[in-house]
Symmetry: C2
């Protein structure tokens, strides 16, 4: 992995001075094209051995290009706001919008590597995390993010010499800490772990690029030119309306008429039973959400369903049991322009709850495999990969302690018609029915097909779907509340 | 202040049951109108005596209205991310966009009141903060935010009885803490401080509304109806295209041709001097920004100037001295749609630096009194009040430890023309010149007038303007760097 980087590359002063002006001009050019095109974002990861010139090189990039459109992020230990959410939350927060460049020091690789070097994590744990990272980066690539990963390398002797030299000069002495020497002593182990990480996370879309950090001129030209060629190649492709080629295997055809939605049978509940059970279940949920055990967990509720399926009514019965300080309802509508400039899941990550809190999504990330699929708002390749991306996302939520409960409120086509007509006739509910609702209704079968695929492909042990027979609103609300209580009880033990 | 609230109001069960359905329907209606109109946001503050039913009432509001469009915020002790920024930062983060309602428990009043009750702040400090709050709330009102402030009151005996009753019941015992009893013992002092706070912050636009918290039915109807009438009144006014009436005193006319811009005399600097000084000043700034003393401060730089004044070039020379991990450059362009739905200063608050960090604004909040004034993008009343609002904003920054340095890069009309022509002729710089630049140039005199007013009205001891003679780029960059170094040195001591 590090062979070429240990050859002792160097660039003499004259060559360097001659090369820089053209490189700067071209980098600046590429950056402006990126900004003007606004078609993709660039994420540059900077990792590697201490004192191999990471900071110096990034400072130089900022000097060469327009610093107004580069965001540089350094991640130290997570803050309280960060540590109460899934591991990847703070990196999602730092993703650049299309047209911009983000440089990330201390990114998603840092903690997994250091924990393995320090032996606070097992080999299997590291491999699980690398697997997560591979899938995350593949998602970024599919979303159009250009990901460039630099690893700054120094041979052991060179690192030692660098540390000694810095210590000797009173002006730079402060840059060498005890921690630096501790990790210098772990050099061989660090090299071994890094080699493993780099090999298993070098993919066609985002290979690791090893930088020989021993000579400042060489490494600056290497990083600058690598960045330039990656940018330029992608810009050229983009201007030719190139889209990533993906081979999409078609979903299997339906052979018979059986499906999970049609298999549901209408369930009714009497008003009196409803009133009784509502009160009992709300009380149960109130206690659960206020229990000490819940303070280290979080609750993420997802409500999906055809128009007029009763999502709003069900949500009100759920939050009626909660303290208003504790929950937030997120009605999912068209993305804002800040959201459209980001990878698809970004607008959901920003709403994730802290510990002890509840977030209710009224419609959700499943829009990708429902409305966007049916209406053709995204390509088949996009919604096909979304199943796995969504499963990964919910896995991260669950691993961070959130209880994820997902409901499909299922109504029949006849019941929907009855509710539409009722809404049209009552002035109070009139606002709830639009032209679009009628148009969606015409595509009932396509939506049903999409729902069945969604349930098949995203019902997981950590975030199963609950199909709710919703022709009778009372029955539906009680089933929703009971499911939440049961899932919480199982989780809180 | 609390006289009427101590009369022992109560509403019997039947009256309450009869009144609720109509109130709910009307509240929901008003909420929908608010959402559809998207013309103003609503902020409801909930403060008062412990155990006076604050939480219960807010839960009820969420039940009565559509919880998807109410955001409820509870502020405890500030997190690290919050405490490293000005006091108001977390409240700005929580402001709702137009069309939505935010309910805030534990808002900007909480800390000033408790610190005074605990005697950790002096009377004069409290009064300073109340003054800040009055100006902040007046800004919100001018920005169209409907602010409704509820104070939940309980007489001392009633509070004691409530605490005892909660303690007696095993299901509610957990709700009574030692802290509750401690503050119960301070009841008289709390009442006295609260009375003072309420009196001095009750304004015509946002008076305090005292809620008698002793009876649950009464307080629910009181809060619901008060909220409804405030919403309805404002909605009616909005639908009649009503705008707040403000009497604006005109700025004084110019009697002679003297102004601070014309008083500037071109300054030149030789290339050699420039190179020498640049290196020295960048070194000085590098050391200052890395000094331990800077870790508890922050640096906010503002660059303004006519088109082609050299802002970008100056910024690059400044950040060239900084570590890329430490600074962020914010190029200010048209607001995003999320930003347009908020009070004017919101989009700048979101970028404020933590301790030890630098934020560079390439154009800034001064757009309000420059381009927006000249182009008529906002009313005279809006930009006239902006001077005071901006001064308050920068005062908050400075009080939180930030060093605020503001530059006006002044070029002559001739120099601008020369630079425009140069940009047009060089393919590399062509992107930098647009139709709009030529149009702005036609309004040179109006812009100059706006700049002079701006400097007169927003140059404060805590955030003075530095006018930079910028016809010679070298001179300008050196003056910028030297000013930053001097301001930092003075601040770091």
């Amino acid at each position: 992995m590090f062979e070429s980087a240990e050859l002792g590359h160097s660039t003499d002063k004259d060559t360097y001075r001659q090369a820089v002006p053209a490189l700067r001009a071209e980098l600046l050019d590429a950056q402006l094209d990126l900004l003007e095109l606004r078609q993709f974002a660039v994420v540059v990861l900077v990792n590697g051995v201490d004192k191999a010139g990471k900071g110096e090189t990034v400072n130089l990039l900022n000097e060469w290009m327009d610093p107004r459109h580069i965001q540089t992020w350094a991640f130290d230990a997570p803050s309280a706001e960060e540590s109460e959410r899934p591991y990847m939350w703070r990196f999602w927060r730092a993703l650049p919008p299309r047209g911009k460049i983000a440089v990330m020091f201390g990114n998603w690789y840092t903690q997994p590597i250091f924990e393995r070097v320090d032996r606070t994590s097992k080999k299997a744990e590291l491999d699980k995390r690398l697997d997560d990272i591979r899938r995350f980066e593949s998602m970024l690539a599919q979303e159009g993010v250009l990901l460039i990963k630099f690893w700054f390398h120094l041979p052991r002797d060179a690192q030692k010499a660098r540390l000694k030299a810095l210590e000797k000069d009173p002006r730079t002495r402060w840059r060498v800490t005890e921690r630096d020497w501790r990790y210098y002593n772990l050099y061989e182990r660090y090299r071994e772990v890094a080699g493993h990480v780099l090999r298993t996370t070098s993919t066609a879309a985002a290979p690791w690029l090893i930088v020989d950090g021993s000579d400042a001129n060489y490494r600056a030209l290497f990083v600058g030119r690598t960045l330039l060629s990656a940018l330029r190649r992608r810009l050229d492709a983009a201007s030719q309306h190139w889209t990533p080629r993906l081979s999409v295997a078609p979903l299997p055809p339906r052979v018979d008429g059986l499906n999970v939605l049609d298999a549901l049978v209408r369930q009714d509940m009497k008003r009196k039973d409803y009133d009784d059970q509502l009160e009992r279940l709300q009380g149960r949920l109130a206690l659960l959400s206020r229990s000490p055990a819940f303070r280290t967990r979080a609750l993420v509720l997802v409500f999906e369903g055809m128009d007029a399926a009763g999502k709003g009514g069900a949500i009100r019965r759920v939050v009626g049991a909660l303290d208003a300080r504790q929950y937030r309802v997120i009605p999912v509508a068209a993305p804002t322009d800040e959201e459209s400039a980001q990878p698809y899941l970004w607008r959901f990550w920003r709403h994730l709850p802290r510990r002890g809190k509840v977030v209710v999504f009224d419609r959700s990330w499943y829009g990708r495999v429902l409305v966007e699929r049916v209406e053709g708002f995204c390509s088949e390749a996009d919604w096909m990969r979304a199943y796995a991306e969504i499963n990964d996302f919910e896995d991260e939520l669950a691993s961070a302690g959130a209880v994820v409960v997902k409901f499909w409120l299922a109504i029949s086509k006849d019941e929907q018609l009855a509710r539409f007509k009722e809404r049209e006739s009552e002035p109070h509910k009139h606002f709830k029915i639009t032209e679009e609702d009628w148009r969606n209704r015409d595509k009932w079968d396509e939506y049903s097909r999409a729902v069945c695929d969604m349930v098949d492909r995203t019902s997981t042990e950590y975030a199963p779907w609950t199909l709710v027979e919703a022709d009778d609103k009372h029955f539906a609300r009680i089933k929703v509340l009971r499911t939440i209580c049961e899932r919480l009880e199982a989780a809180l033990g």
